[in-house]
Subunit: 334 residues, 2 copies
């Protein structure tokens, strides 16, 4: 049986109220009593029961974080960012892994409420469109990242995917490329699918460049899907001189296809990635890409959430900055 405040009170010959007061510094206590209590606390190795405390305080100091897939480096670094800010304020993390299923997302949302979590961070959730009401019903401070959620009063944290992809494509164009293909993310993931492809299209249009049929292929985040996508592109009659790939992971697949086909990067074709995962600097040639730091997403999301918890004003929509990382996989052409 664990030691309780009651035990401490008896051993120290004071009331449990007094013990509580010295433990929380909530009210002045006569020094001698305070010392006596502290001594007993030391001796017994007493640890307050946070559950009981939460029941009365209505605060758990736990925040729930939901991510679709933890084996994905992007999300684990996002977690790292969240943790780095919340742990500083003595909040801890309840981790919910949804495995990309709406069912689990909804289950964890319910669990968050039941466990009386103080706040929630939702990354790249699927169940939106049709279940947003679940979010509003929550009545729990919350921030979502990886979705735009325009028109809802829920704070979001995101990069400007359209602009970043535009910048990446424009860079390719500035290096003299004109026939530029695109391996996009899956269309069911708006940020990596629609938005990033949108930025690419926008840049091409703005520079008066055509997008031939077969120059755009869709992947599903895995390296393998990048491999397959670029294969489809290269089996067309017309070949690009550069490829913009919507995620680094798929870009690795693209690099591998090119390698396996004996097509040299960047001499024969240039490749531009997106995300700047650790792996981008580990490939040979090293991948030029868009820096999109999940750690910063996490920090930003954590900060927005903490602000809510302190009732400070927050932006409904914060944008985390991006920039281009130029390495070896893009070459200028004449």
């Amino acid at each position: 049986m664990a030691v309780t405040i009651k035990d401490i009170a008896q051993l120290a010959n004071v009331s449990i109220a007094t013990v509580s007061r010295v433990l929380n510094n909530s009210k002045p206590v006569r020094p001698e009593l305070r010392d006596k209590v502290m001594r007993v606390v030391e001796e017994t190795g007493f640890q307050p029961n946070a559950i009981a405390r939460s029941l009365v305080n209505k605060e758990t100091r736990i925040i729930g974080v939901m991510i679709p897939d933890i084996s994905n480096n992007f999300y684990s670094n996002l977690l790292y960012g969240v943790d780095s800010v919340i742990s500083e304020y003595d909040y801890s993390m309840f981790l919910a892994i949804s495995d990309e299923t709406v069912e689990k997302e909804l289950k964890y949302l319910r669990l968050f409420k039941e466990k009386q979590i103080d706040g929630v961070i939702l990354a790249s959730i699927h169940f939106l469109e049709g279940n947003i009401h679940s979010l509003h019903e929550m009545q729990v401070p919350m921030v979502v990242t990886g979705h735009d959620l325009h028109g809802y009063q829920i704070p979001t944290v995101n990069v400007n995917n359209v602009q970043a992809s535009y910048d990446a494509t424009a860079y390719l164009i500035s290096q003299g490329h004109r026939r530029i293909a695109c391996v996009s993310g899956p269309l069911w993931d708006p940020p990596c699918g629609l938005d990033r492809m949108g930025g690419y299209r926008k840049a091409m249009r703005a520079h008066g460049l055509p997008i031939p049929e077969g120059f755009v292929a869709e992947g599903d985040f895995t390296p393998k899907s990048g491999y397959e996508a670029v294969k489809r592109i290269f089996e067309e009659k017309e070949r690009p001189t550069a490829i913009f790939v919507a995620t680094d992971l798929m870009a690795v697949g693209v690099l591998n296809y090119l390698h396996d086909e004996g097509i040299r990067v960047p001499d024969d074709v240039s490749v531009m990635g997106f995300d700047n995962l650790e792996i981008a600097s580990l490939t040979r040639p090293m991948l030029s890409t868009v820096h999109n730091d999940p750690y910063m997403y996490g920090r930003a999301a954590g900060e927005q959430l903490l602000k809510q918890l302190r009732n400070e004003p927050i932006e409904r929509m914060s944008t985390v900055p991006h920039d281009l990382v130029i390495r070896q996989s893009v070459k200028a052409v004449l």
Copy 2:
């Protein structure tokens, strides 16, 4: 204000005990009452308060997982393994990231107790040797992974690092290599440092092969440290024909050094990794390595913990199997 059992009871004209009974199916309730209660529950969107429940049940259905570094793919996959087994039994995860500091480890250990966590999984903790008593004091079901902890009554989950490294080295020898170097993990991490290097040494000795001065270099897990370590080895007079690298991440650094120096793999030198991270199949050439699945670690640890929670008998020390994954980075020599 959230809806409580008391509210439900009033609205349904029953006692709170009855509501509790239908919610938990803990005792038979007359169907009409049960229906009435359920209807009110639906209408109000009632969610039970898990905190209050935990206070009386003395069970939180939360298990604490402590890892040193979540940006490391190894640990995030371990988490995935843990989650995959515990979530099936309706346990959820409280995540503690220690950032490799003993201070935070101890802090989270305390927090685990305060939050009345039901069980604890500790991965690659640092504070052992001098603080093991903290673990015993815990009086909480627990399993540790990434440490051997011989002589203590704490269940562990591990690969046999010595044997696995032995096997990897023996494989290199079976391919005709005789001059084999080793890039080991840091010595402060016994499993990846001492044990893996130990397996290498043992295999060399068993086959009567010498280990020349300068054939062993220590890295610290990062690709960069692998790069530097193998550089030191290759700057010696005598060159190896094969290298056993204690972790894949460092092996990527090794591969990159070799690439940058124009030394071909596997034609000029063979490289054998350890871990079988995703990246091992993404490098060119693809890395031959030891399969050491953190996901399985996680699953095994989770299973051992669940057994304890059910008071089932457990093994004090469970070994997760390893095997060799042969890809392209090793070549047979005559």
